[in-house]
């Protein structure tokens, strides 16, 4: 089974995000990381090929620095990397991103395409299904479990009230929720091996995607009114203060 994993390079998930003078998220500065939300899908892909053979290709779109994210995925065990990097894609919106990534998938069709349920920086969560529609693929989002069998895939999908079980054909695109797997750490051997793995760099033009204009633009950015500082209480005084607050709100 050949699997393509979509991987996004995001600003440090535990850092303080910033907007640049052009009101776009600052994506450079060497502080980024492979989106932790993508590691669950990568781990799932690695487990599937370890069990039944095949290759894992990682596809990422981002600035030059995003190569670090692809390299981490290769170090974890992916076989090939593709980085789509192009100054013209800076500020790309969801549709442009979906068109570019779909074009990359179409060059090398896979039995299964795996993405994170949403990115840790933008939380849009629609790019993978837009790609599935562009590619005419079946899709299942918010996947917490996936098994391969003779008929295709048996998939558990998170819902508001529990989970659904779905059947999906080959090929299918899925987005996985965090917690679907326990991502491995790259081993030293894996890090060394990653350097020798195939790594392809592409531009939007290489993929034949021409219309790169975003249809959204930031009009105004304002600071939200800061919240007034609360009171800091130590352990002993806390009990009475919280109980008082509950009583003031008439909930006890």
């Amino acid at each position: 089974m050949n699997i393509t994993v979509l991987a996004k390079y995001v600003p440090n998930p535990t850092g303080t995000p910033e907007l640049g003078p052009d009101n776009l998220l600052v994506r450079t500065g060497g502080d980024g990381a492979l989106d932790p939300g993508d590691e669950y899908g990568l781990e799932l892909a690695l487990q599937l090929v370890e069990a039944s053979g095949g290759e894992v290709t990682v596809v990422s779109m981002g600035p030059d620095e995003a190569i670090a994210g692809v390299q981490r995925a290769l170090a974890m065990g992916a076989h090939k990397g593709v980085l789509i990097t192009d100054p013209a894609l800076r500020g790309a919106d969801a549709l442009v991103t979906a068109r570019v990534l779909a074009a990359a998938i179409a060059r090398q069709p896979a039995d299964l395409v795996i993405a994170g349920a949403e990115s840790t920086d933008g939380y849009t969560g629609t790019v993978p299904v837009t790609m599935a529609e562009l590619l005419g693929m079946a899709s299942v989002t918010a996947v917490r479990r996936l098994e391969v069998d003779a008929d295709g895939f048996r998939i558990e999908r998170q819902t508001e009230s529990g989970y659904d079980v779905l059947r999906a054909p080959v090929p299918t695109l899925v987005t996985v929720t965090a917690g679907a797997t326990e991502p491995r750490y790259p081993s030293l051997k894996g890090i060394m091996a990653a350097k020798a793995k195939p790594m392809e760099r592409l531009t939007a033009a290489d993929l034949g995607v021409e219309d790169l204009d975003a249809s959204q633009s930031v009009a105004i950015v304002t600071d939200a009114p800061p919240k007034a500082g609360g009171e800091i209480v130590s352990g002993e005084d806390a009990i009475g203060r919280i109980a008082d607050l509950l009583a003031e709100a008439k909930v006890i």
């Binding site: 059947r167 633009s217 919280i242 109980a243």
Partner: protein
């Protein structure tokens, strides 16, 4: 100006609360308002959708919309758009509606804005970023209809007292591969719903495992009418089901009082609870970001404080 549509998620139990919130907002935008309700429960939902501002409801009760998430609704909606040319379609930020909007975008080539917190008109919507510390107004261009996914509970649903005309919709499903639901499982929590509870007590990574959630539940029971939730970290770890999750992914809650126990306060969590009237945060790490947005910031051991608080609440209840 073209109409504003609300993609109203429905179940046999009724329309989703977010559909009524979006209709309430839609009717302030100065355009005709219609709702699109697809799947089991659609026809029954017409009256309530009408009472919240839809003058037309495009409805179809076919189970295929629930059984093939996203795809059937996106194609049916696309055909309907071709007939009626709306200017703007509002969706709730849920997994199901995201699937519909995402696939629809591939068909229409329209812009799609996610995580909106307000809508000013067919070409401008607002979002909050960086955990709500910055407010961003976004101009929407490109072909109509513009697609905007709005966070649940951004608006308060208010009835308009109107009525809606039902317009039957033809199901449009393209040939080709699709995924289908074969089983449904509920993992319903006992007690009041998270979104409706006056008091929410949420646990995070600091709980260290699934067992301490029983301690939060005891406090909730002592208070009465309180619900227990969790941060994504606790859900990811498998300690509690996804239905507990509060945050960017998961539920948005706006209770009278929110008690965060062992939650660091990642941006992803904060956007789901910062609308609480009062926030109490208990954390042993004095640098935890959640303490900065708390009305009462308790630096201490939740394993001592929570049971002691439960005792105190019980004592006050009986005195």
């Amino acid at each position: 100006m073209g109409a504003v549509w609300v993609y109203a998620e429905v179940t046999p139990e009724g329309p989703q609360a977010a559909a009524l919130e979006l209709l309430t907002k839609a009717r302030t935008l100065g355009a005709d308002v219609a709702a699109v309700a697809l799947g089991p429960g659609a026809s029954e939902a017409v009256a309530e959708l009408g009472a919240h501002g839809a003058t037309t409801v495009y409805a179809n009760d076919e189970p295929v919309f629930a059984d093939q998430p996203g795809r059937a609704a996106a194609h049916t909606l696309h055909a309907l758009i071709g007939q009626h040319r709306p200017a703007l379609i509002l969706f709730a930020s849920t997994y199901d509606a995201r699937d519909v909007a995402g696939r629809l975008q591939a068909l229409t080539g329209s812009t799609l804005m996610a995580n909106a917190t307000d809508v000013e008109g067919p070409t401008r919507a607002r979002t909050e970023i960086f955990g709500g510390t910055k407010v961003v107004d976004v101009d929407l261009a490109g072909p109509e209809p513009r697609l905007v996914l709005v966070r649940p509970r951004s608006f308060v649903a208010e009835p308009s007292g109107g009525t809606a005309t039902t317009v039957p919709v033809e199901v449009v499903i393209p040939g080709g591969a699709t995924a289908s639901v074969i089983e449904r499982h509920a993992e319903a929590a006992s007690g009041p719903k998270l979104e409706e509870a006056n008091v929410v007590i949420a646990g995070g990574r600091g709980l260290g495992g699934p067992e301490p959630f029983a301690m939060l539940q005891e406090l909730a029971t002592a208070i009465g009418g309180a619900a227990v939730g969790a941060s994504r970290a606790a859900v990811d770890a498998g300690w509690v089901p996804y239905s507990f999750q509060i945050g960017q992914t998961g539920k948005t809650v706006k209770p009278e009082i929110y008690i965060a126990a062992g939650i660091s306060g990642a941006l992803q969590h904060v956007v789901g609870m910062k609308g609480a009237k009062r926030i109490v945060a208990i954390n042993k790490d004095a640098d935890a970001p959640i303490l900065r947005i708390a009305d009462i910031a308790v630096i201490g051991d939740l394993f001592q404080i929570v049971p002691a608080l439960t005792e105190e609440v019980r004592k006050r209840a009986t005195s």
